[in-house]
């Protein structure tokens, strides 16, 4: 059970391992705060849609499962979008078109199709929550690195010394690809080291 939750955090992390959902990942992570809010909105949608899909999995005809999952996901995305606009107007404005675009985030359809449609509600909930948190953490890391190098701050707190020249490229699209590539590389180095240690212990 616990593994259903933790695998999304590290072993099957949606961004660093599955490399899914790259559109919001690359586009909104210019600042750490945007990464956090995008991650939370996505987590909400992924958890709700996974639970619903898991609840109705026995009544879904196999031929039309994808359109049905899409409608369910789109409903929760619209709800999340309206909720943000009504209660967190400034954040909603900052994220702009990327909240409605959560609909096409393939992590969510991926979890619905690969996991929630075949497992019970509790396991699907944990799986979705793990994936959502794993996604959120990855977005915060990406956003922090880019905000630090491109703007000298993290979550709006100035961290670099006053004379620091901002690397404008880091908040441009190219910076997203560079950061993501380097982070995936780092992730793999850490992983292979962990593997080696495990083998030595044996």
């Amino acid at each position: 059970m616990i593994k259903d939750f933790t695998k999304g955090l590290w072993k099957e992390n949606p961004i660093f391992v599955q490399v899914l959902g790259m559109c919001p990942t690359l586009a909104v992570t210019t600042k750490a705060l945007f990464g956090l809010s995008m991650g939370l909105a996505t987590t909400f949608v992924i958890v709700c849609s996974s639970v619903v899909v898991s609840l109705i999995r026995r009544f879904v005809p196999a031929q039309v499962r994808i359109p049905m999952f899409t409608v369910i996901i789109a409903t929760f995305v619209t709800a999340a979008d309206y909720f943000l606009k009504a209660n967190f107007y400034q954040i909603s404005k900052a994220l702009g078109p990327y909240v409605p675009l959560i609909v096409v985030n393939c992590i969510i359809l991926g979890r619905a199709e690969a996991y929630a449609s075949k497992n019970n509600v509790a396991r699907s909930f944990l799986d979705a929550l793990g994936m959502g948190i794993g996604f959120t953490c990855a977005l915060i890391i990406l956003g922090s690195v880019r905000e630090l190098l491109g703007g000298g701050a993290v979550f709006g707190y100035q961290l670099m010394c006053p004379g620091f020249t901002k690397w404008v490229i880091m908040i441009l699209p190219a910076g997203a690809f560079l950061t993501l590539g380097l982070l995936i590389g780092l992730f793999n180095v850490i992983n292979s080291n962990l593997e080696k240690q495990k083998q030595q212990v044996r």
Binding site: T30, V71, T75, A79, A86, G96
Partner: protein, 186 residues
């Protein structure tokens, strides 16, 4: 085969109807709040441009323009809602102009879909501050990577020239329209 088809249609129809019904509730809950947010935002932006403005009235027969007066009833200027296309979608701004239409009092962005971190900087002080006191007897122009040399010029944002140009064009259009409308009224 026929049974399958009926099953599929029923399943899709049920999901669609349930989704529609739940969205009606979400919509009813959120729309009034969103409207209030938008209105507050407009008044806050006008207040930022005219710090002494206490009486904000929509102009007669024009939802897009407000007259702003201070406590004693003296006209401070006009606030014009300026809207047009940006780099990734519509940009909605408030342009504050002096009563004589010779200078701007400031500019605030209400709504934009520009790239976060780049084009979205059009909403931040380093950019918007340039419009305070800008001359509008001449068309507004933008310059790149250098300080403006004329009183009707502003400096574009590095990496977001298209957004900066869009702002300038929208403002020129809206101010021009408002000026003509004012002349027509008199």
């Amino acid at each position: 085969m026929k049974n399958d088809a009926i099953k599929m249609i029923t399943a899709l129809a049920v999901v669609g109807i349930l989704s529609g019904i739940s969205l009606v509730f979400v919509y009813n809950y959120a729309t009034p709040k969103i409207k209030i947010n938008v209105r507050n935002e407009t008044h806050r932006a006008i207040g930022d441009i005219f710090p002494d403005g206490s009486d904000i009235e929509p102009m007669k027969g024009d939802e897009e323009m407000f007259s702003v007066k201070d406590k004693s009833g003296k006209l401070l200027g006009y606030a014009i809602i300026a809207e047009g296309n940006g780099y990734q979608g519509a940009i909605k701004m408030i342009a504050g102009v002096a009563g004589d239409f010779k200078t701007m009092k400031g500019m605030e962005v209400l709504d934009s879909q520009e790239t976060p971190g780049l084009g979205a900087e059009i909403a931040n002080k380093p950019f918007t501050g340039q419009f305070n006191g800008l001359e509008i007897t001449h068309e507004i122009e933008y310059v790149k990577n250098k300080k403006p040399s004329e009183p009707y010029q502003i400096e574009a944002i590095t990496g977001a020239t298209i957004s900066s140009r869009a702002v300038v064009n929208i403002l020129n259009d809206s101010i021009d329209k408002a000026r003509k409308a004012m002349k027509g009224n008199q």
